[in-house]
Symmetry: D2
Subunit: 313 residues, 4 copies
């Protein structure tokens, strides 16, 4: 992971000083506050700050005084109810802030989630580090033949070797040309006094999309779940899914009841269309349906069979 020893020391120091607060505090999250969770080869996710916990959700739903009811069992039932019925506003009442290091092509997907606050490292202003994502061989997948935005089998042998070589060489070369064009002093080279050096905001265009960037990303629990629902899904691209999985793990420490409800009613749920409901009613009544008799499109029928664990006919 690309945490320098200096940064490690800074994290250690930050974790060494605690304060008293009257705010709701989550012990399981405090345990890992500031600590980086490694993701991909050089990336990480770490929690920088948070506000509220499961009781903030309950409190908002009750618009009551104090820290809500005492019985966890009632809170759990209420949170399950809110999640099941898409009463989403109480989940906006808790916030979390992450520091994330991630490849640019992942950042481009991530940023499409608009209802979050973001401050990214600026390559207009500063110089990007020489760090880029190179997949492990087991993640070098072929294009899926059935799904235009999916992955198929893992590449093997010469093809895999050559792909890794290309990714590494091209990233190395474009980065080294980036550094040359900048003509700035670094550990590896002294600037050439005869050259002006290209502006940073221009030189960066020579970098490849697997170069790492970093940002602070803050979202409320509702919008975090919107992100996780799409990005922790098996259909999400592997390289963003691993970030979402780390964040889902963090969410279970932070708001365990909301996490449970989220897994039950979002991650593991299925939506049935009007016609699919009719099909399921007939199946429950004992009828054997086929693609042809289901009333559904072939694709929706296939998906329904998968959800219901029945053999497609």
């Amino acid at each position: 992971m690309s945490i320098t020893s200096e940064q490690r020391e800074e994290i250690r120091q930050t974790r060494a000083t605690s304060s008293q607060t009257l705010r709701p505090t989550v012990a399981a999250l405090e345990e890992i506050l500031y600590e980086p969770f490694q993701v991909l080869d050089h990336g990480f996710v770490r929690v920088i700050d948070y506000m509220g916990d499961d009781s903030a959700v309950v409190q908002a739903a009750r618009v009551s005084y104090g820290r809500g009811t005492k019985k966890v069992s009632e809170d759990r039932g209420l949170i399950m109810y809110l999640m099941r019925h898409w009463h989403t506003t109480p989940f906006e009442m808790a916030d979390i802030k992450f520091h994330v290091k991630l490849p640019i092509f992942v950042a481009r997907q991530w940023i499409r989630h608009r209802t979050a606050s973001v401050n990214e490292y600026s390559a207009r202003y500063s110089i990007l580090d020489k760090e880029f994502y190179i997949p492990e061989q087991q993640h070098l997948a072929a294009q899926s033949s059935s799904n235009r935005q999916g992955r198929g089998e893992v590449l093997e042998g010469d093809e895999a070797r050559r792909v890794l070589e290309i990714l590494r060489e091209d990233a190395e070369r474009t980065y080294s040309n980036y550094a040359w064009m900048l003509n700035e002093p670094s550990d590896e080279q002294a600037p050439d006094e005869d050259r002006s050096g290209l502006a940073r905001e221009l030189a960066r265009m020579n970098l490849t999309l697997n170069t790492y960037t970093q940002w602070y990303w803050k979202a409320n629990l509702h919008n975090l779940m919107g992100f996780l629902r799409l990005r922790a899904d098996p259909h999400a691209q592997y390289e963003i899914r691993v970030y979402a999985e780390a964040m889902l793990e963090i969410m279970s420490r932070w708001v365990p009841l909301s996490h449970e409800a989220f897994v039950e009613h979002r991650m593991g749920s299925a939506s049935l269309s009007r016609t699919a409901i009719t099909a399921v009613r007939r199946m429950i009544a004992g009828e054997k349906l086929t693609a042809a008799t289901s009333g559904l499109s072939p694709r929706e029928w296939r998906e329904l069979c998968q959800t219901m664990g029945i053999e497609q006919v």
Copy 2:
């Protein structure tokens, strides 16, 4: 203020238990956490939770590790710079959550600020208390004759007396009819067993707009300032301005550097149009301008004279 003794006790208890946290903590805000600040006759504002402080703004601007730089003087300069140049995203990195009790007509203005999270007491679900806003006589202003959405002189004598009487009587009567239609058990009346009682979601329509409601309202610092800039302004309606003023006071405890920059570059600032800049240049060069020679519309000229403290000609 409409805090019951039971609520006071609950606040006292909540304030009695503190925890350890590794998060940034603001002592001046902890001092008043949960405590209600009275606003209008029955309203209040109180802070329920917060995340981050001035250093969160600095940290986001620097996208650096740890809690930002050590020197407060540098942080102050950076925050001033960000505010002056409308670099707004770092101010999104700190959040605050309020519990507010306010008249419905104030809530209707307030809710137009869309980038906040809100959970309001539901009169569909619960019964509203018998509390309504009656202005103090000194705030019973006449319609302004020059500004269609402004106030003029204070009403006096019989007219003032009669207005207060009307406001009180109409609110009392409509509330008492609301209670009658609900036909629910209360301290003041037993339900009439022969009646069904009107649904709460319907009965509420009989209440007047000065009835108090309450909500949790959470915003990040950037959006809080957007709210304060409009609502703590002298042109804002008095009844919402007093809430904004209480929140501005709270903001100065929470993020003193951002508060200072906000007062300097937003609250006390003025925007000059292209043509107004030309007019000011000429005045600095010693020219005496009049409405006619300024190049500005009469109204903009008047506003410029006020800003620059010069006599209108």
Copy 3:
């Protein structure tokens, strides 16, 4: 309906002049453009402008040139697919603008949908008309005994009569006191020269929540559907549902394919939790479940039985 004859004439004139445009145009929507659809006793909804149609959704999904493919059958399949898989961004690419007249308590629910543009008639600036919502007797429902935010049986006899009397009398009296406090010239009264008249921004607080207001409300198709999904739902309060139903009807004229997909995959759909999927799998396999053996909470089991049309045990 509260359209004055002057307004009718204005609508007639606006509809009398058409222009040539190269933009996509929807004949079925042009037919009713500007025309008010009556809702409740004095309210209405009318379309003021629109941008795009079903092909805008298709075009965005394909990010292709021109007006998309020629075959409606392919467009229909794509729109169904997008809706089923919650690919929501293409539905943001079409917009519609409404002019709505509605009671204030309905406006208060409506405005909670934040991702829309709104300009409301200002009672700070202008004087509200003497129009308030009085329910028809068949909609005077009692409080539901099972659902705290629902309606039960319709009130009858004396109770109903008295409720209607109260609603009418209180609205009349508070409005007439509002007018008196304003002391402005009107058709019904000359101002009292000895009085200053209360500022409009204050006088309005005496009005009841069933007073009508009006606004322009613009949303893109995605956010319109977010609104309709909640507000055209049988659990929505009747008084906002009738607006949503009128808008759903308008939507079917505007974007018939998206409307069909919306009814199929949103309005008529059901979401099954992880546990509910297991329960349905067992039922499809022939098992007879009961509340006790289903693994679901009593409430979720009841809802699942309703969805699947099976008798609760």
Copy 4:
């Protein structure tokens, strides 16, 4: 410009068919509807659709019937007033949709404007064309020595030549390796039957940030102005500013009154802090200020001198 002859033909056909509409129509915008405006070497901006015009702003401000007042002079004054006083909601009532082709590093800046709707060409799903931005030599600027995110002098001679060579060679090589890894049939190569081909979602990471992408981007007039205010500003990076300038030109065709007000009160305006107002008052009164006596920070004093066209002392 990278419009193929096939696309040209499609645009020609689309422009050949017009319809009748009752909606407000802007002749000057219809003239250029669908037509690409070239930006940079391979980019473009073109208007795909629009809704409303200056009268939509006026109408929303008046919440009145029909198409607003007849006199353009009154509309102009109202729009100037709204702009000057930051009454922004009426400007949300008109929308415009663009089709834009732009380098990825420009897209990364652009997307930070969150309140817009976007559909981007997906390199997960499709193959990107071989097109990348190579600056003209006159835009090959050195890093500014005074401003960390600015440009200095233009590079010359060998350094400029070498930079252009690098940018071209690296983009060519990474693209050609991208194509090789994909192993898909193209005009230039037949796929190698012995290889599987890397998934598109992975292969794209080898592309450099100057590769062109494209998207549909829709915003309302208020948010469009938010974008233009930052991106048509002289401090914006040249490569995004040229897009903003083309859009500003388009805006002047679409909403000429709003455009005039925007130039007067936003683009050409200046904001004076509380302290700067005091300084200007003193200068108008005839006092000669210096950095030391102005009360301002050196940087703010320098900016004020520039705005007021006075010599810095």
